[in-house]
């Protein structure tokens, strides 16, 4: 299984456990988001995200479309998201 954790309000539940070994967390900038229509062996779609690290390298990360959609819906329903005015 691919687990995907969703934190609707990081002020209430900060990610203190991201780097348990103290090796350091890299920082990057999302440059692209795309769909792989048949990204899994079973033919399900996946969402891919391209991240440019501060040192110029790139990382492509994925999750399934269904998980990403569910996560987006969960975040959109959170009080924190409701405080932000979205463009029409």
């Amino acid at each position: 299984m691919i687990p995907l954790s969703v934190t609707p309000d990081m002020d209430r539940a900060p990610w203190d456990d991201l780097d348990p070994l103290g090796t350091g967390v890299l920082h990057g900038t999302i440059t692209r988001v795309g769909l792989l229509r048949n990204g899994t062996v079973r033919g399900r779609a996946t969402v891919a995200v391209a991240i440019r690290l501060d040192d110029g390298r790139h990382v492509i990360a994925e999750t399934t479309f269904a998980l990403a959609r569910t996560a987006a819906q969960a975040l959109a329903a959170s009080p924190v998201a409701a405080e932000e005015v979205l463009d029409p």
Binding site: P3, L36, T40
Partner: protein, 136 residues
């Protein structure tokens, strides 16, 4: 100003121009308000693939404004009717992701597709045709 290129079909528009690329899993996402500019940001933590040593995988943290992320999500949702529906195997739990609230402020969403499936597909889609299987 932040900008993100959205690719509705990576198979048709491959990201072959990205050099020195590693693969990873999206591990968690969350919302955080920046006290400096007052805006809400979508935060994402990525674990770079490290076969058999997930606990030791390098973590990448990234963020984009929630307003931009929401717009990207809407764009992808518009593509939804055309994306693959896959098999209808009765054991394919991915069709119905499960959301679990552990009471620690985070929700956990699980599906059935393996990371190997997804990463193998990403590698095939992003590597140049004459370079598949080599280091990226």
């Amino acid at each position: 100003m932040s900008s993100i290129k959205v690719t509705p079909d990576i198979d048709a528009d491959r990201w072959t121009d990205l050099a020195s690329t590693a693969l990873g899993d999206i591990d968690r996402v969350g919302l955080q308000r920046d006290p400096e500019d007052g805006r809400v940001y979508l935060m994402a933590a990525i674990r770079i693939q490290d076969a058999g040593r997930r606990a030791r995988a390098q973590v990448v943290l990234t963020e984009i404004p929630w307003t931009l992320a929401a717009r990207v999500a809407r764009l992808l949702a518009e593509v939804e009717p055309t994306v693959g529906t896959g098999s209808d195997d009765s054991d394919d739990q991915e069709a119905e992701p499960v959301v679990t609230d552990n009471g620690d402020g985070a929700l956990r969403i699980t599906g059935a597709a393996s990371p190997a499936d997804a990463l193998a597909a990403a590698a095939a889609a992003t590597a140049p045709a004459d370079d598949q299987g080599s280091d990226r």
